[in-house]
Amino acid sequence: MTAWPGQPGRAGPQVRDRVRDRDKDRDRAGALLRPTALSPAAPAANGRPPSWPPCQWCRGVLRQDGGARPPRRGKERGRSAGVRRRRRAGRAMLRASLRQVSAALKEGRVAPTELCQRCLALIKSTKFLNAYITVAEETALKQAEESEERYKRGQPLGILDGIPIAVKDNFNTAGIETTCASNMLKGYISPYNATVVQKLLDQGAVLLGKTNLDEFAMGSGSTDGVFGPVRNPWSYSKQYKEKSVPKSHSEDEESNWVITGGSSGGSAAAVSSFTCFAALGSDTGGSTRNPAAHCGVVGLKPTYGLISRHGLIPLVNSMDVPGILTRCVDDAAVLLGSLAGHDPKDSTTIQDDFKPFELPNLTDVSKLSIGIPKEYHAPGLSSEILALWSKAADLFKNAGAKVVEVSLPHTPYSIVCYHVLCTAEVASNMARFDGLEYGHRSDVKDSTESMYAATRREGFNDVVRGRILSGNYFLLKQNYEKYFVKAQKVRRLIANDFVKVFRSGVDILLTPTTLSDAAPYTEFIQEDNRTRSAQDDILTQAANMAGLPAISVPTALSERGLPVGLQFIGRSFQEKQLLTVAKWFEKQVQFPVIQLEEVKRHDSDVFQHQKSASFS
């Protein structure tokens, strides 16, 4: 069996030593964050390099020969050792996992205000990514100060207290502009918090800002919002740059950048570029998993009905769910634990009690049955991803799991079914935007209807208007049975496919998330939004149809140096099993850390730090 890149079996003795060290000293807080007596850079007393809890994001700080980094010269000369130590700890902190940061906050190794300030500074220096629409600087700092008070009193609200989080701009956030990347809601300041946002704030999370998306979450590239497209942070990574061939001397990364995928591209870019520890997205046809796969982060779509949609500006009421984007599967479980549960304000949430869970460290997969749906070998699937998919299947097989090929025969029709149901529900959901109560209002005064028509003409872009018109067509009396009801019947067939497969003993389905790695922006915009959505949603969409939980886990880098993710689909409300398997898989593949290069026009010492600390 060929080893994964970076897997201990292939990389050499240094990596094996580090793995052994990691397992030996189960020091949860991370030795780097607890400086030694002599200097922050000296190795630990026993001569071994500092050890960490097993988290891929921390591995990037170690040097390849196993030594620790040398003391910094130049810029920081003259600063006290204490300041240098705290600064280094602060920078390393941005790359840590949620649990590690939470532990550090609790132990007082970093202050919530410092963490918040670092994130805000990083957001400023990565502005070219266009991941954020609104940065709520003042409120974030205030929340961080309040969190600091709580930590000082020894009364943190929970694991999320003080953690900077970003939220997609189609969630209502009280007092902060919520635009859905549309002219229709520019200037709209929500009067209330979405339930998920409220839950995060109640646990002390620091809301950094609202992230960019496709207009009203319609699209698969995060390119169609009025605030411009979102750039994938991997476009500026060493891994991508090494593999890309410049067409001419004058061409730089400006024209070569790749999309994030969509529609939660801003959230994925924010998490991927370390500006926050977790982000909320929404998932209707794959809008969380698609950008997660393209940006190399974990994207979780929970079961429909588990997390409240109250306050999430709806696209398709029967398929929308709030999505969770984090850098590792464990963090996703933490966030899920804080957000799931019945909400009296959302009647589509189930009433069963939800118990937050800790993910066990699975070691024995022999009792698992993994299904490989053959219809997901869709036309257009790149050979690279196909190879990764079968490698992953082999990984499970060799670890003792039962891997079977299954069939979901109605998969090819899911995208058509989605197209009809989505446009129909969109036609209904967009009807509320008339300019009277909120949002953009046209100056036309002749009549109510002409004012509505003018407002909607001015407020919506082509994509939204196209979907509204198509949806209205499918809902016309003469077309209702033929299209809408027919699509609902096909939906049942699709959902039943999954039920049959799970009933036959399969626990988890393993599929690719996307057809290929992220496309360059200039190439992506050659086709229109509907064509792209139809192409890109094909592998993620069916899980929304059936309401099943699904997660995209970053797996490996493609030949172009861009992330590729694989998707796991689980049974309804069995997130614990799904996430446990995903966590096991994540540990096996050891996805590499992004090595963000210093971008010439942005002199950020955070990036400089990453450059000197990178290891490959």
Partner: protein, 109 residues
């Protein structure tokens, strides 16, 4: 099979959104063509599915007790035109102008 101008006009009226140009109409044509693939599937005897939670009796009616409200000021803040506690709309009961009378791309079709 192209959509007739009457239906296009009817759609514009229903949706209160216009086909700005030929591209808009073409988009609808393509969307319908795409959706026609649904007819290849045999759905005899299959019930339409409204919600994936149909087995769980999720959609319930709660007791008619007032649990929140009194937020007139907040709600009015986002409206552009208002008088005291009312949203102000232009005169109603005036139907949208007929195809011949208003400026729309469809006039040319």
């Amino acid at each position: 099979q192209r959509v007739s101008v009457e239906v296009l006009e009817h759609l514009e009226h229903l949706a209160l959104v216009d086909f700005r140009d030929a591209e808009g109409v073409e988009r609808l044509q393509k969307a319908i063509q795409f959706a026609d693939q649904l007819h290849e599937v045999n759905t005899d005897g299959v019930e339409p599915m409204d919600s994936v939670l149909e087995d769980r009796w999720c959609l319930y009616l709660r007791e008619d007790d007032v649990t929140e409200g009194n937020c007139t000021k907040e709600l009015l803040e986002n409206a552009r035109e208002k008088v005291e506690e009312y949203f102000v709309a232009p005169p109603g009961n005036i139907p949208l102008l007929k195809l011949e009378e208003r400026e729309t791309f469809l006039q040319g079709s």
